[in-house]
């Protein structure tokens, strides 16, 4: 059913090259010198969970815990090293809002470019265009190349596009940090509206208030594993405990 997704024992391994071979010349010479020096780093390991259609799930964890890796797998950008990630339906990833922007094109052209990246034709985007511009409050600047935009304007346009493509799964990664308070509130309202429309939401944030307000279920990621999966309030408590114990361990170790 569209809007569902599940992870089964998903693991993602990054190879960290200490002495990286980046040229053919080195690769050929390296055969004789054994310079290949690769460390494996498992950003995620043994992650299993299921999200039902229409559920809004939060994702919290300290920096480097594997949240972003998990999101990128859900968005289809990364292919897991092991396990299976099944995602059904149209995903609108708000991972890096302005990812698809071409700085030399105008705001107007970028709306269509971004739409194309999400699989919308020119005509479909034209129908959404006025709404997008209105939401972003950029009508005055829509024909200016986006390289001249401020970071707040970038984020507003990016959010307006991502929020208007009727996704079945909306993935939000800490994107509300930019923009002023009023616009953030507007974004939260828009997200609630999308949620009310039956869209599945996957929300990552360090803002515990936003997470508890928006989500009915929260996953805590810790060192590449899901340490907790359940009610928001309990999850936040669990997350704080983990953080304190990490800080404590560091104080003893340091």
């Amino acid at each position: 059913m569209p809007g569902e997704f599940s992870f089964q024992d998903v693991g993602m391994c990054f190879r960290m090259h200490r002495e990286r071979v980046t040229t053919l010349k080195e690769a050929i010479l390296g055969r004789f010198r054994h310079v290949r020096n690769v460390d494996e780093f498992w950003a995620l390991r043994g992650v299993s969970f299921e999200v039902r259609q229409g559920e809004s799930v939060g994702l919290i964890g300290h920096n480097g815990s594997g949240k972003s890796t998990l999101l990128k797998i859900a968005a289809g950008v990364l292919i897991p090293t092991e396990g299976r990630a099944r995602v059904q339906g149209r995903v609108s990833p708000m991972i890096e809002l302005a990812a698809g922007f071409d700085p030399d094109l105008t705001g107007r052209d970028n709306v269509f470019l971004n739409g194309a990246l999400m699989g919308y034709s020119r005509r479909e985007m034209a129908a959404k265009f006025d709404r997008i511009v209105e939401f972003s409050e950029l009508s005055e600047f829509i024909d200016v190349p986006v390289k001249n935009y401020s970071s707040g304007m970038y984020a507003r346009l990016g959010f307006a596009i991502a929020a208007d493509v009727n996704p079945e799964i909306l993935i939000i990664d800490e994107v509300l940090a930019v923009g002023d308070e009023r616009f953030q509130a507007k974004c939260m309202d828009r997200i609630r509206e999308i949620r009310a429309g039956g869209c599945t939401i996957f929300f990552v944030s360090h803002d515990m208030n936003a997470v508890t307000q928006l989500c009915e279920r929260v996953l805590v990621v810790h060192h590449g594993r899901v340490a907790f999966d359940g009610a928001p309030a309990t999850a936040v408590r669990h997350y704080r405990e983990l953080q304190e114990s990490a800080a404590g361990a560091q104080a003893i170790g340091g």
Binding site: T22, T23, K72, V77, I79, P93, A99, L117
Partner: protein, 229 residues
Amino acid sequence: MFWTLLNPLLQMAVYTLVFRTIMKVGLPAFPVFLLSGLLPWTFISVSATTSAHALLNNQGLIRKVAVPQAVYPLAVVGSKLVDLLFSLAPLALIAALMGRPPSVAWLALLPALVAAIAFTTGLSLVFSSLMVFFRDTRHLVDILFQVWFYLTPVLYPSSYVDGLPQRWIRSVLALNPASPIVRCFQQAIYEQRLPDVSTLGAALTCGAIALAVGFATFERLQHRHIHYF
């Protein structure tokens, strides 16, 4: 657009000056011969050398948006194909002015284009992927296409090669997969006849093999690209 059309015409003017006026290559309607081979060759070489950078230049997008990665090299091939199609117009004009107007044989350009596109796509996929793993691929590709240009009958007719006394040179040059593709264009445009079945067959075979190898390689390697950016 203007520059796209001007570039092959300028090249044609210079090569004609050097080869016909200075070196006295006695080929009738030399500019037509030259352009009919130079245009497909330029399509192949410019597409392949440009798409070698396609994945690297778009790594920001690849890391964030889930789009099949083959899109990036294919977009390069597509845009160069448009250039090629547009530059057929001045070629037709020059050919008509020099007494070799477009004939029914131009219909053979369709299968010839198919072969050229398939061949170019295969090369582009392989080079764009290889470039992610080994950054010095760019030098390799540049040198490869410089040498390859002179080994392909663009500046000289392939009959010159067939007339060479050294048998080994002939057999080595006969292995050049770009030759039958370029030959198809020359036969249809310059010689105003349908290409030989053997030449067209060889061109299509080379195109099919390059495309299959290119896609198979790309398919196997694309998930590893993201770790090498």
